[in-house]
């Protein structure tokens, strides 16, 4: 069965390591924070100027001066630090962030990503995504394998304006974990109960399948 967005977030949380500084994008990536394994210390960066994102506030304690990059009210953890935007992107551009998780419209088999604009229809803006993908050491994309019409989002070549080139390392979708290799997409895991055939049929780019493909473990 395909995963819901919480399932995708839960699977991505398995990529975290103790001591990681992590930037989580808007949407599904934000949910990863809910699944950080017990006892593991991971520090979340918010590009609007915070290291040490805490849980959402309890009702009545929202602070207008304390938001995340998705403009939601948040709290901060013990040992947090605040800073301005240029300092924030010094952390990002300087390669100090261990892992970046973000959403996408499309990813190509070369690791290119499109996430900010559908010409003539919708412009979200790139926000910090271009800075993040150009400099992060490790980039994971969280998204559904297909768009609402059923079209594959894992393509030979992106059709929409790019956010970055050759940067995505791993994609976690509702049906699979796929790595970007020099030879194209490589299937790593499948969601519980999802067949290789289904993943193949929903992947437009070249998909390498080698040996047994395990199911995701939760």
């Amino acid at each position: 069965m395909a995963l819901d967005k919480n399932g995708i977030a839960r699977r991505i949380a398995q990529e975290l390591k103790d001591g990681f500084y992590v930037n989580l994008g808007i949407g599904i990536p934000t949910l990863v924070a809910n699944y950080i394994p017990e006892g593991m210390e991971v520090i979340l960066q918010s590009e609007n100027g915070l290291l040490g994102i805490g849980p959402f506030p309890v009702k009545g304690e929202e602070d207008p001066d304390l938001i995340n990059a998705g403009k939601q009210t948040i709290t901060y953890t013990k040992g947090a630090a605040f800073f301005d935007s240029s300092m924030s992107f010094a952390m990002i551009r300087g390669g100090h962030i261990d892992l970046t998780v973000l959403g996408a419209f499309e990813v190509s088999e070369k690791g290119d990503i499109s996430s900010w604009k559908i010409p003539g229809k919708m412009v979200k803006g790139m926000g910090g995504a271009m800075d993040l993908v150009a400099s992060a050491k490790n980039i994971i994309v969280a998204m559904n394998h297909t768009d609402p019409k059923g079209n594959s989002k894992l393509l030979k070549k992106c059709t929409l304006p790019l956010t970055g080139v050759g940067c995505v390392k791993r994609i976690v979708t509702d049906i699979a974990v796929v790595d970007v290799t020099s030879k194209g997409f490589k299937l790593i895991e499948r969601a519980p109960g999802v067949s290789i055939e289904e993943i193949k049929s929903k992947t437009a780019g070249n998909l390498i399948i080698e040996g047994e493909i395990p199911e995701m473990q939760f």
């Binding site: 849980p55 207008p64 001066d65 412009v123 979200k124 926000g127 271009m130 956010t163 970055g164």
Partner: protein, 230 residues
């Protein structure tokens, strides 16, 4: 030295049609509300506004957009502002979208006297169009030019009569970099205090960057997305 002005109306004196403004804030967090209201009331038009976002439809820079006082926006993020997106798609508004970190650094560099610098963000995308590309350490970079503004308008938590500023939490965001990059920088502050009241070790923006400062009144500090624990 007299930097303290009475209110936003006095602070924005000298802002005329077709000028370039920088406005601090991220979403609605840390935006100079009083000055935006004064600009709306002033009917100044043809503005180029450098700001990460453009507020929402009925608050922040969205108010200036609605009255068509802005000719061009230089921003990184449009999402969640329907009027901004509509004016962009219809071509009524000129929009330059740039990566957020590049935007922040272009402001900081402008204030720091650095005319241009190289960054990797945007290489291979439409952001790179027309820009010089150069390889450093095996990685491709774009030449980005710094930004300065006729007026930079920032919002701080505390400020003193010399223009020294302290921001609070994530309301700092673009304010600190933009405060450096205005030919004239206006600071509206939640609490205007006498000289000597702020700890010099805690100052984010030293007063040398600030020409006008005033005590803000009636700040709404609206929250865009109230999100709480379930």
């Amino acid at each position: 030295m007299k930097k303290v002005v009475k209110d936003a109306t006095e602070a924005i004196r000298g802002i005329t049609d077709d000028m370039t403004l920088m406005l601090g804030g991220f979403g609605l967090c840390g935006i100079p509300e009083n000055c935006i209201s004064a600009l709306v009331a002033s009917d100044v038009k043809g503005l180029t506004c450098i700001s990460n976002n453009a507020g929402v439809d009925d608050f922040g820079l969205g108010l200036l957009l609605k009255k068509h006082q802005i000719r061009k926006m230089i921003s990184s993020y449009v999402g969640e502002n329907a009027e901004f997106e509509r004016q962009l798609l219809s071509g009524e508004l000129e929009v330059e979208l740039i990566p957020q970190g590049t935007l922040a650094e272009r402001c900081r560099a402008g204030g720091a006297g650095i005319p241009a610098f190289f960054v990797p963000a945007g290489f291979g995308t439409e952001v790179a169009e027309g820009k010089e590309v150069r390889e450093f350490n095996g990685k491709m970079h774009l030449l980005e030019k710094s930004l300065v503004a006729d007026f930079a308008i920032v919002k701080a938590w505390k400020g003193d009569v010399y223009g020294n500023l302290i921001y609070r939490h994530t309301a700092n965001n673009f304010n600190q970099a933009m405060a450096m990059a205005g030919k004239i920088t206006i600071a509206e502050v939640e609490e205007l205090v006498p000289a000597g009241s702020l700890d010099p070790d805690q100052i984010h923006t030293p007063g040398i960057f600030v020409q006008r400062i005033f005590q803000a009144e009636g700040l709404e500090k609206r929250i865009e997305f109230i999100t709480t624990r379930s």
